[in-house]
């Protein structure tokens, strides 16, 4: 599904990613771990197409298509979802209105009709229920005045609504208490299928207790320095990041 | 003969008198300014910038426009007007004439002296040429009038990397020797790179005779310089003041002007900050407490011309009896001036039905990546708080005073000279009829 080959990226002439190789197949869960400043968040931003970053070498291929020339919204239309570490506030735009717009824009881009309001409502309600989200929450302004946990839950809600092929969860666990973490993990697990893939980006092993990855990669100084199974995460937790340097 | 005609007639005499001690550049500046004044005259309320303040009642008097007589004052008689608790430099004028007896000036490493001297002596010529009348408005007729008659005032020039060990006090006394007196002091303050100065300014009339002061101060803060300026306006009821202050800031400089208006008849403060470099900070604070038929107009402009700067403006006003408060706060952010933080707040309390507030907070924004906000409130004291205090045995008058004092307090907090802070706190407490046995 996703093939990253020798990816180099920089911001303001500072090299951050220095040759990433990663292959993700449908149905797989990958975890990318690493200390602060190793390039984890850069990697997710580059995949999502953030324009502040410049890809200097290498390529990102999604289902056989090179993403290089695609704008962030076009990538989203192809099925890439990135949950933000710091979700953005948009005053006056409700959660419902926002997700409705996002779904219909994506459908339009893929040659589909807009989802009828009735079906949209049904889907929103079902998803909210699945993720234990209060109805009132849906009519609040997007992320405005949300607590950290609410923001993260809202990201998972949007993911569930958009049904992406590839979900990248950037530090989704940070700032969550254990109950919120369980709800988020639960949501991700329910949405996982044979057709989609999940990339978890995290500093700590904590989240991986609830979402068990098929592969764990350790990122250090812009490169993947070690890859392994779920057990690698435990080993890292025990020995610390210095061990892989 | 009205005041304008009188001024026109006096200008020639003034020029003749001073022509021997000026060089031609200053002469040209005065002539050009006079021409502007002649053509435009005093502003009226039809002028948008003077919509809420009329000078008419001030212009009807037959002023002596060019006082020369030297009068002596005993220090003991005027000591209370000085911030005498601390050491300071003093530049003192009596009826517009310099008083060497009351003053304490210096040329030791920096100049704290007289503008008349600086205009005369060749060694100051470079500074005068470079700074004098370069930031004061040339299209404002009251400023132009001052420029035309500019001759005397404070001259402070601090070279770079100098922190003045003590504040400078500028005092203008008027004795009442003239029945009606027009004073036009002109101050020039230049602060070099990395230097720091604190200045306290006061106008004080010692009689019940009519005084009108039209003052212009130009302040230049070079890179990383810091200027703290305090204006104490507690004159008696026959004295009116038009105070024009122009500040030009270079990068990383911090300029603060604190204005305490609690006295006088009509007071108009024109305060302009022009930021000419990045990372400048401009602070404007004011407290106005007036009553009877007093009138105070704070007219401010902050012009952000470069990126990454900030301005903080806080004016608090309390108006009793038939007094009038005016606030006009203009903030301009130029197209190039991105990443500006400009905050402006004007809070007012009306204490009596005859009192009036006219507030015009105004933003003109041409850059998109800025944070600008202004807020204006007009209200009363919190009745619940008042009742609460009275139920605890605090009489109404004192309770009111305490609440008002608390209202003004955040503007008081900006005073950096402890002795001055104590002085002004006391002054404000007395205006509010509060006896403060403690610090709030």
């Amino acid at each position: 599904m996703l093939e990253i080959k020798n990816l180099h990226a920089s911001i303001e002439d500072k090299d951050i990613l220095k040759g990433i190789n990663l292959s993700v197949k449908p149905g797989e869960v990958h975890a990318i771990m690493g200390p602060n400043g190793s390039g984890k968040s850069t990697l997710s931003s580059v995949i999502a197409g953030r324009e502040d970053y410049e890809v200097t070498k290498g390529e990102i291929v999604l289902n056989g298509e090179d993403l290089e020339d695609l704008a962030p919204d076009e990538r989203a239309h192809k099925g890439i979802f990135m949950s933000f570490q710091y979700p953005v506030e948009i005053p006056g735009v409700t959660v419902t209105n926002f997700i409705k717009t996002a779904i219909n824009e994506t459908r339009k881009a893929n040659g589909l009709e807009e989802l009828p309001a009735k079906d949209m409502l049904k889907k929103i309600r079902a998803t909210a229920e699945l993720l234990e989200i209060d109805r009132k929450f849906l009519s609040r302004s997007l992320n405005e005045g949300f607590s950290g946990g609410e923001k993260k839950r809202n990201e998972i809600f949007q993911m569930a609504m958009l049904e992406p092929k590839l979900a990248i969860l950037d530090e989704t666990d940070s700032g969550l208490d254990i109950d919120a973490l369980k709800v988020v993990a639960n949501g991700v697990n329910k949405l996982k299928s044979e057709d989609n893939a999940v990339v978890l980006i995290t500093h700590y092993q904590r989240l991986l207790e609830y979402i068990v990855p098929d592969y764990v990669h350790v990122l250090h100084d812009g490169k993947i320095v070690k890859s392994g199974g779920a057990e690698l995460a435990l080993e890292l937790e025990e020995k610390g990041y210095d061990w892989v340097k | 003969m009205d005041l304008k005609e009188k001024l026109e007639a006096s200008f020639l005499a003034f020029e003749n008198k001073v022509s021997t001690d000026i060089d031609s550049a200053v002469h040209d500046i005065r002539s050009a300014a006079f021409t502007y004044f002649e053509q435009n005259g005093f502003p009226t309320r039809r002028d948008e910038e003077w919509k809420y303040t009329s000078l008419k009642p001030l212009l009807k008097h037959d002023y002596n426009v060019f006082p020369e007589a030297e009068t002596a004052l005993e220090y003991a008689a005027v000591k209370k007007y000085f911030l005498h608790e601390i050491e300071s430099y003093k530049i003192v004028f009596i009826d517009g004439v310099y008083s060497s007896f009351l003053s304490e000036t210096t040329h030791d490493g920096y100049d704290v002296c007289l503008l008349s001297a600086a205009l005369k002596r060749p060694k100051y010529k470079m500074v005068i040429d470079h700074y004098f009348n370069t930031i004061a408005s040339k299209t404002d007729s009251v400023t132009s009038l001052n420029t035309a008659f500019s001759k005397e005032g404070a001259y402070i020039h601090i070279p770079k990397n100098t922190v003045l060990p003590k504040p400078v006090q500028i005092l203008h006394f008027s004795t009442g020797n003239e029945a009606n007196l027009l004073l036009q002091p002109r101050n020039l303050i230049v602060v070099g790179e990395n230097s720091h100065v604190q200045i306290i300014e006061r106008h004080q009339s010692l009689s019940k005779n009519v005084v009108l002061t039209n003052s212009v101060t130009e302040i230049f803060t070079n890179k990383r310089a810091i200027v703290d300026y305090y204006k104490i306006q507690n004159d008696n009821r026959a004295a009116s003041l038009i105070d024009n202050t122009y500040i030009k800031q270079q990068q990383n400089s911090i300029a603060s002007v604190n204005t305490f208006s609690v006295g006088g008849n009509i007071t108009r403060n024109n305060l302009e900050f022009h930021q000419e470099g990045e990372h400048c900070t401009s602070n404007l604070n004011g407290i106005t407490i007036i009553g009877e038929k007093q009138h105070v107009d704070n007219h401010t402009l902050v012009h952000h011309k470069f990126p990454n700067c900030e301005s903080n403006e806080l004016y608090k006003g309390m108006y009793a009896d038939r007094s009038t408060g005016v606030f006009n706060g203009k903030v301009i952010v130029d197209k190039e001036a991105q990443k500006i933080n400009a905050f402006q707040q004007n809070n007012n309390i009306l204490m009596d039905d005859g009192a009036t507030i006219n507030s015009k907070p105004q933003l003109e924004i041409f850059a998109d990546d800025v944070k600008c906000s202004h807020g204006c409130t007009i209200g009363q004291l919190d009745e619940d708080a008042l009742f609460y205090m009275r139920s605890r045995g605090i009489p109404k008058k004192e309770a009111k005073g305490l609440l008002l004092y608390a209202f003004a307090n955040d503007a008081l907090e900006k005073i950096k000279i402890p002795e001055l802070k104590a002085r002004i706190t006391k002054l404000i407490a007395s205006k509010l009829g509060v006896d403060l046995g403690f610090d709030l």
Binding site: D73, P91, G92, Q158 | I357, N358, D368
Partner: protein
Amino acid sequence: MSKYTEDDLKKELETKEYEYGFYTEIEADKFPVGLNEDIVRAISEKKNEPEWMTEWRLDAFKIWQEMKEPDWANVTYQKPDFQNISYYSAPKKKPELESLDQVDPELLKTFEKLGISIEEQKRLSGVAVDIVMDSVSVATTFKETLAEKGIIFCPISEAIQEHPELVKKYIGSVVPKTDNFYAALNSAVFSDGSFCYIPKGVKCPMELSTYFRINEGGTGQFERTLVIADESSYVSYLEGCTAPQRDENQLHAAVVELIALDDAEIKYSTVQNWFPGDKEGKGGVFNFVTKRGLCETNAKISWTQVETGSAITWKYPSCILKGNNSIGEFYSIAVTNNFQQADTGTKMIHLGKNTKSTIISKGISAGKSQNSYRGLVQISPRAKHARNFSQCDSLLMGNECGAHTFPYIEAKNKSAQIEHEATTSKIGEDQLFYCNQRGIDTDKAIALIVNGFSKEVLNKLPMEFAVEAQKLLEISLEGSVG
């Protein structure tokens, strides 16, 4: 009565056009350019006005001659030559086109985006519409419903003939002839406009709209509207149209007067989308409007406006809160793009006790435009316990435009409570990226953010207007962030 649909509307209009087809008769009429007493007299005569109306106009003309065009607004433009304008031209029939294929495709695209029905599109662009069914009934129902309740809703020219006592009593009572340059001009030469009277205790059962205005054609330039809500009555009035309106008359100077008697309420909503000029800033309508309402005891007037059109907008819908406990509201969205200039806001004059006013103004500037809020809140000495809350928010898009606020706050009563807040913000790069990541393209994202920014005002519009207004905002700002 059930809600009007757009089709009903169309039929209504067709009927009216048909009914008043006599316009063809005077089509060739056009006065020579210039303005003098004879022209004013001639306008009055053309309309067969009574003597008192003629005199009123002449008086206004005299006043206007003494006045100077104001220049305090924050706008710059080439002042019109008032002697080079023709002050009377009978409503012209638009050239009839045979099908939509003959209409400017740009215009059609906009219609489509606004979601205007094909039939309505035809009407707006002047395509002949076949009247296939008998639609007289709709119009009749409409008129009958109003008549039953005693509501008068007709062109002001008709009201001058048929209800002279009402017109005489109220015209110029809120916006006097002497009020300002444009109001004086309007008073002298007003072409036509709407008149509305709601009798005591009557709640008008439908939104009254200038859509229904009978002689749509030539009234645009110097429109005069008079709405009177008698004691305890209610009316909601819609003015304007989201569809882009082109007009060869560059100068528009309308006057709107609202009178809300004791316990009455008037809700007046406007969507203004006059031609703003092209991308280079050429052409476009100058819109100099005087709108003012008078509230008697316990009355309420609420102005809501969405302003996206015109090259120059000069407009301050105001409330005189004369009666005790009266309420004034002003909700405004003003969008400027390209070279547009808007100087708009409100005046809330508190005269009565316990009067309340609310001002919510949202200014959005893009392109090279200038957008100014100008407002006055005045509390008179008698207005005990008057309250005002104002909020003026500006959104800037790009670095070539300007946002300005000129609030004037004057309080002469110690019990006044006034709060004024203003903020300036921009659309953040991070907001756009977030939307993009969720599959929303940049234009759509801007529309979404702008709608969120304007929500408090959009919510005040009648439902059917709100949807169109939202789309209008979107179109007005298309492509403004590169």
